[in-house]
Symmetry: C2
Subunit: 338 residues, 2 copies
Amino acid sequence: MKKLTLEEIGKMAGVSRATVSRVVNSYPHIRPEVRERVERIIAETGYQPNLLARSLASDRSNIIGLVIPSAAQAVFADPYFPILIQGITQVCNANSLTLSLFLFHSREEEQRAIRSISGTGLLDALIITADRKNASFIPMLRESHVPFVLIGRPEQRSQISYIDTDNVTGAKMATDHLIQLGYRRIATIATEQNTAGDDRYTGYVDALRFSGIAVDENLIEFADFSMESGYKAMKRLLQYEPDAVFVTSDTMALGALHAIREARLRIPDDIAMVGFDDLPPAVQAEPPLTTVRHPIKEAGAGAVEMLIDVMNNGSKPPRRKILPTKLIVRASCGAVRS
Amino acid sequence: MKKLTLEEIGKMAGVSRATVSRVVNSYPHIRPEVRERVERIIAETGYQPNLLARSLASDRSNIIGLVIPSAAQAVFADPYFPILIQGITQVCNANSLTLSLFLFHSREEEQRAIRSISGTGLLDALIITADRKNASFIPMLRESHVPFVLIGRPEQRSQISYIDTDNVTGAKMATDHLIQLGYRRIATIATEQNTAGDDRYTGYVDALRFSGIAVDENLIEFADFSMESGYKAMKRLLQYEPDAVFVTSDTMALGALHAIREARLRIPDDIAMVGFDDLPPAVQAEPPLTTVRHPIKEAGAGAVEMLIDVMNNGSKPPRRKILPTKLIVRASCGAVRS
DNA sequence: CTGAAAGCGCTTACAG
DNA sequence: CTGAAAGCGCTTACAG
């Protein structure tokens, strides 16, 4: 049961190790009978090439890293991450890439690890999930020359490749929808954790302004993406009697729902709600909310595709991809007001 | 900006590559002045050893794999997994282990990948999250001689190392609590997805039997760990008018809550509820449920510790670890009935 | 189309 | 305490 090597397979097939290597790697110009003989031996023996040796020799590991900064740690349990990871692994699997996960629990851990992540030749490339503060190690990444892409636009304009969702437009559609239904005291539960939060807030404000509705500070609460924070934010908002609320993530919306029901108010009769993300039924409110579809899985998949492109063709020009959002209207939001 | 090698560092420090290697790996017997000189050069140049080369030469990659079978895919968004991963990465980071994530989206993908996962020398060891059907590839793992541990007990008694939670006792405590409060029509929302589901169901039945309460088929519903399935199960249960319900996961409990509130019933006045998992506030109901604390993060951490033990000391005898559970009583459950 | 050989960057007996 | 050298298992020009 010892591990077989190319050399041994070659011996068994009566060819050189180089030839076996070529068969394994599907080089085109091999005599068919030789190829078949080698392939048969490989099948019979169950030979599997040693990936470490291959990586060292070829200078390509086919391993990519997913970095989740410590700042995201607190909300890592939000379904956003698992769904993102589903999208990522789907494309990884399809392209025989191995995914390494780097999850940091503190700023220090992060700083310590980020150098070794980028400097040890283990990883071909990196995906970084965006958060406000990861700007700190991006310079380090750049000089390491490991290709990387961000999920979520960076805070500053830069030459960095990233994939993002059209958060501004999504938030605008959500708010417009409420305006069109006749609501005027439209609150929001926003976040300042990342640029997605900024953009959703921007969309909300833009929609109000465009419709000539004054932005009321009392109707704006900031939370942190957690269900609990959504609950608390909603409780604070309720005292100002909004007639509708745009919650910038479905997880927070779930928390907000608790607060609303606790106050014995009804959705949508007493207060209308629009969320953001369109989480899958497994983690969705009942009845499902009107919400903005955030293509999370597609973002994960797209990030890997972009990364593959960058690995093969170099990182300039920087790649950009903005995924569209879509308003998903459900009965729960409420009908046109009389 | 090219990558430095041991050889080059050695040249700069006036020593051989072997000596540099020893310094890097903290071998004890090196002359202090030599060590210092080498360390200075390393610090100045920012040299980082090539992990692939090291792994190949030392036959140890320090990479471990986390395998999440396709059967778990549907509920991967459940906070259970992210929390588990937090526990796993914590111990990985502390021990300089790199974590690779293998998430499969179909049975075929899984079968295809599992061989290469275990046969390519990339991974030192594996953690497998238990589900009913992964039994299928465990034999394959065993003959690959890659050490592995399961999270969650395997279905059959076997020689496999695993870490688990005391689900039976946890469920028993939950049910007993309801019995003690005076409830008699205690329903449950159970699952058959994995052995944890079996055990929680067992605990529920045991508690009823022990108290001489008849097990009523009408008060038992099976779901699949998703919020949606919890919602649907609760709707079905309500027609049989239970006075309490033990929901075997907090995520399903959240769904069940929706159903209860939709029916305009109150917790705990109309129906008492106990959950299982004690999810963090970020994803918890408001007000928080009475629930059974399931040490998920500890299970992840413990799995890695067990794996390290197995890697260093061999896999026999097989390791077992059962983590205790604890009933967390919260006001939401309701007081003693009159 | 195929093989001999150099090389990837380390580790680690072995010898001194 | 330190170095020369073999070896880990591949890939890949180079030559034929």
